[in-house]
């Protein structure tokens, strides 16, 4: 285990099984809470039990939340897991956002819908460990067997003698005890906080407009910085003249930076980015904005390059082609490549023979454009690099992934990195890629001053890590009796395809072929809420709907029939889903949506999907108004195992449904000769309240399975549920996103 900062060298480090936590100690008075955002730092009176819990003598109890928060409410639900096992009154608990300190917390990863799933055991063990140590401290004090004692509500009791002592009174002694090797967790039936809705712990600060976000962070002497990036993908900086800009009021300096050093080997989340930037630094945002316009820059075309990327140990060569790319051309290229040979990803049986013998073939092609994340808070980062330390306030989903990047490109030793993990104004994948941390750090280093780097909305939209553009063709072979004898899926994308060859309906068909191809691009891409799934689900679930209609089957019954077949006699290997749980959400959806009783005047569509370890199915009711679907009702059913904080979980599902509806109706970033055509929100349509569903009814399958993902799973299937409902309403199938274009074509 490595040392993160000098102050942490005070900690007595002890690794225990499962939790990997740091053991208790009294926080030293010499710690200075410098540049602390929000919370007032750690007072010397706090006694720490495990890396997550701090207790004061007066029985104030604080729980540190390890994972960066961007709206999924983990800052409430993760501490709930600790509080559950600790046996404390949740209403009295103070929650504090942990700083970047991954050795302490073991994991600080917000992404892939993994927060609750991966914290479920470790955080409960942390709470249970502390509870057992407090119980032991009381046993030692009272000279009683620990088995006679109980812990509840922040106190230890001995019922027989009616003795009670608070955790606060025990903490100091408890911290000196050996850490139990096998903390005993509560039984599922004993959980009394998990499963009970608790309000967002930062709700009051949010509604009062308190400073929470990186964009809000300010310190004395702080400078504001903005960058000038190439006007188009495929271009780079040739030269610039900043004479006029430097004369503008409030401007401190204008210079250029190279974000990644030459030869730097990018790792998993080091996105490629415009690497050579002009930077304008000044006293205030408005002054920098004005001066930025006065910089005269010359740009030139890039040449094709090849870079080796280290993708979690697997090295891969990436081609970055030269040229100025356009959306229209992209579509022509994708359609052309669909007609050429692609890589076989999976093959079961003899699909070629089945297609040759087919009486009828149904073939449909689906596509979707690049998407910008458009987090409400544009990208920003605060950095103050001094000889003592590299201090950041950063909106970053996976801080530890930035470590080697900071070390390599800012020449900062790893043990001098300090990072406050600010609440993020949305993430959706965008903030997994922290190139802006390096940018801010380089600017602070050069200016020898605290700096806040700000992206305007235009900067944010034109320097994105977009959802890739995708295409896929689904083909089904039918025999004379309308039996499906083969399925063929062929997909591609710029620069990656979205085919998940082992997901449903793989396993349900004797003859099955999945193929994929990829076309390199110089446009930067990255994870976007349920990467790849968000497209492939929309295509697959629309195709299954059309297939069910063609063979005259109810779309839910059709899916259940296939799943039953895949369960009874699975075809092929590595089928990546549990048919029973999949069927479970569909059955519950039938019941909750009153599936067979479509309300009068409404049109109904259904879709389901499995990704990020969870199963989701939606029914959407629409009626057409002024050429747009009015979404009257959505019924959502999820199986994500045990739900920790039900009302917050519902909020997330509602959000995913609305996000998906917005993106499939309106989303699409267009490029012309490398230039992003929509550069701000007055040119890019996002869903607004009047287009949002009137009602969303969310149901969770009740079971005692350990929690699985929630942030992403409800997103992919909503696209097709809407497309299938719109088909019922208009008689027209929707193959190409955004659907607004198809609706306009009709009008």
């Amino acid at each position: 285990m490595e040392k993160q900062t000098s102050r942490r060298s005070f900690l007595k480090v002890s690794s225990i099984s499962g939790g990997g936590m740091l053991l208790g100690f009294s926080w030293l008075a010499s710690l200075k809470p410098s540049e602390v955002m929000g919370a007032a730092g750690t007072a010397p009176e706090w006694v720490e039990l495990t890396g997550f819990i701090k207790i004061m003598a007066d029985n104030q109890i604080k729980i540190l939340s390890p994972n960066p928060e961007f709206g999924q409410n983990v800052m409430t639900s993760l501490p709930m897991l600790i509080a559950e096992e600790l046996e404390v009154d949740w209403k009295k608990i103070q929650v504090e956002m942990g700083d970047y300190d991954t050795p302490r917390f073991k994991s600080q990863f917000t992404g892939g819908s993994q927060s609750i799933r991966s914290a479920w055991m470790p955080l409960r063990k942390a709470g249970a460990t502390a509870r057992m140590m407090l119980l032991q401290a009381a046993a030692n004090l009272w000279h009683l067997p620990v088995a006679e004692l109980t812990a509840s509500n922040g106190s230890v009791m001995h019922k027989a003698t009616n003795k009670t002592i608070t955790y606060g009174q025990l903490a100091e002694a408890a911290a000196k005890l050996p850490v139990p090797a096998n903390p005993v967790l509560k039984k599922a039936s004993e959980l009394n906080l998990v499963g009970q809705s608790q309000k967002n712990v930062e709700g009051a600060k949010i509604v009062a407009g308190k400073s929470l976000f990186t964009m809000d962070y300010q310190v004395d002497g702080m400078l504001v910085a903005m960058a000038i990036r190439p006007p188009a993908f495929g271009m780079q900086l040739k030269s610039y003249d900043a004479t006029e800009a430097k004369k503008m009021p409030g401007i401190k300096d204008v210079f250029d930076i190279e974000v990644y050093k030459k030869g730097y080997e990018r790792a998993g989340f080091d996105t490629r980015t415009f690497n050579h930037l002009i930077v304008v630094v000044g006293n205030s945002t408005w002054e920098v904005l004005n001066a930025r316009k006065k910089v005269v820059a010359q740009w030139e075309s890039i040449v094709e390059t090849k870079e080796t990327v280290n993708n979690f140990g697997r090295k891969k060569e990436e081609t970055i082609p030269a040229g100025l790319e356009s959306s229209d051309k992209h579509m022509q290229q994708m359609l052309a490549l669909q007609g050429q040979k692609a890589k076989v990803l999976r093959k079961d049986g003899d699909p070629e023979a089945a297609f040759a013998a087919a009486k009828k073939v149904i073939e449909k092609t689906y596509s979707a454009p690049f998407l910008p994340h458009n987090t409400m808070e544009p990208i920003s980062c605060f950095a103050h690099i001094t000889d003592e330390k590299a201090f950041f306030v950063a909106p970053i989903q996976i801080p530890d992934m930035m470590k080697q990047n900071i070390v390599a490109n800012l020449d900062v030793p790893a043990d001098k990195i300090e990072m406050k993990l600010a609440r993020m104004g949305g993430g959706f994948g965008r903030r997994a890629y922290g190139h802006y941390i390096i940018e801010a750090g380089l600017i602070s280093k050069k200016m020898k001053a605290p700096v806040k780097l700000i992206y305007t909305r235009e900067d944010d939209m034109t320097n994105g890590v977009y959802r890739p553009a995708y295409i896929v063709t689904y083909k089904a072979a039918l025999d004379a009796n309308n039996n499906i004898t083969a399925i063929h899926i062929k997909g591609g994308g710029i620069p990656e395809h979205a085919v998940h060859e082992n997901r449903f309906p793989a396993g349900a068909f004797d003859n099955y072929l999945a193929e994929g191809w990829e076309l390199p691009s110089n446009i930067t891409i990255g994870a976007f809420r349920a990467p790849r799934s968000n497209f492939i689900a929309s295509a697959e679930q629309s195709f299954l709907d059309e297939l069910a209609q063609t063979i005259g089957k109810d779309p839910i019954d059709f899916r259940i029939e296939l799943l039953k077949k895949a369960k009874a006699s699975p075809v092929g290997k590595n089928n990546d889903y549990n048919a029973d749980r999949y069927i479970g959400v569909l059955e519950l959806l039938k019941e909750k949506s009153k599936w067979t009783a479509t309300p009068k005047g409404k049109h109904r569509g259904v879709a389901a999907y499995f990704c990020h370890n969870s199963y989701v199915a939606h029914v959407v009711d629409v009626s057409m108004k002024n050429g747009l679907p009015q979404i009257d009702n959505v019924v959502s059913v999820l199986d994500c195992g045990i739900v920790v904080n039900p009302d917050a979980a519902k909020n997330m599902v509602e959000g995913a449904v609305i996000d998906g509806i917005g993106n499939c109706l309106f989303g699409g970033l267009k490029f012309d000769k490398g230039v992003v055509l929509q550069q701000n929100l007055n040119q890019y349509r996002m869903i607004r309240m009047r287009e949002a569903p009137k009602k969303i009814d969310v149901h969770f399958v009740q079971n005692s399975i350990d929690p699985t993902g929630l942030g992403e799973p409800p997103f992919p299937p909503i696209f097709a549920a809407l497309a299938n409902a719109m088909y019922k309403a208009t008689g027209k199938r929707f193959y190409h996103q955004p659907f607004i274009n198809e609706l306009n074509k009709k009008a």
Partner: protein, 154 residues
């Protein structure tokens, strides 16, 4: 640069800035009132909504010179203790996800309820459609506005 007086949340501030500076940046950079958020700077997202003489206004679209001597209210001044009926309703319904847009949403909702104490669903949808919530909390915002309308009447 020009000196001017700004009346923000019943306090008077003297600022010395370019008169063309959008009020948004003066509030955030000079007065450190960061509850008014920067989202787009083109009046399209509503994150920067404030009240000017009681009416909702996008502060990114208002040069500071036009706001001088007017009554400006930001989220920090909507209520003394964060307990305006709209703020309370937001907590009741637990509206926020990331929370970034919510101060702008709350300022818009408070202005709506001032104009129309009993808004219909259509009133709410139309009035609030100038404010984007990327997390998609629209259903809860609608519900919170209705809750606030009810509690305001009591």
């Amino acid at each position: 640069m020009a000196k001017m007086n700004l009346k923000v949340n019943h306090k008077t501030y003297t600022v010395d800035v370019d008169p063309a500076t959008p009020l948004l940046w003066v509030l955030r950079d000079h007065l450190h009132l960061v509850g008014t958020k920067f989202g787009c700077a083109v009046g399209a997202c509503g994150a920067c909504t404030i009240h000017l003489n009681g009416n909702a206004m996008k502060s990114c679209q208002l040069p500071v010179s036009a706001a001088a001597a007017q009554e400006i209210t930001t989220i920090e001044g909507l209520s003394e203790h964060g307990d305006h009926p709209v703020q309370k309703a937001w907590l009741d319904i637990d509206v926020a996800q990331c929370g970034y847009c919510q101060t702008g949403q709350i300022m818009a909702a408070a202005a709506l309820l001032k104009q129309k104490p009993n808004p219909t669903d259509a009133d709410i949808d139309n009035y609030m459609s100038g404010n984007i919530c990327r997390c998609g909390t629209y259903i809860r915002i609608r519900e919170a506005i209705k809750t606030a309308a009810k509690t305001s009447k009591k």
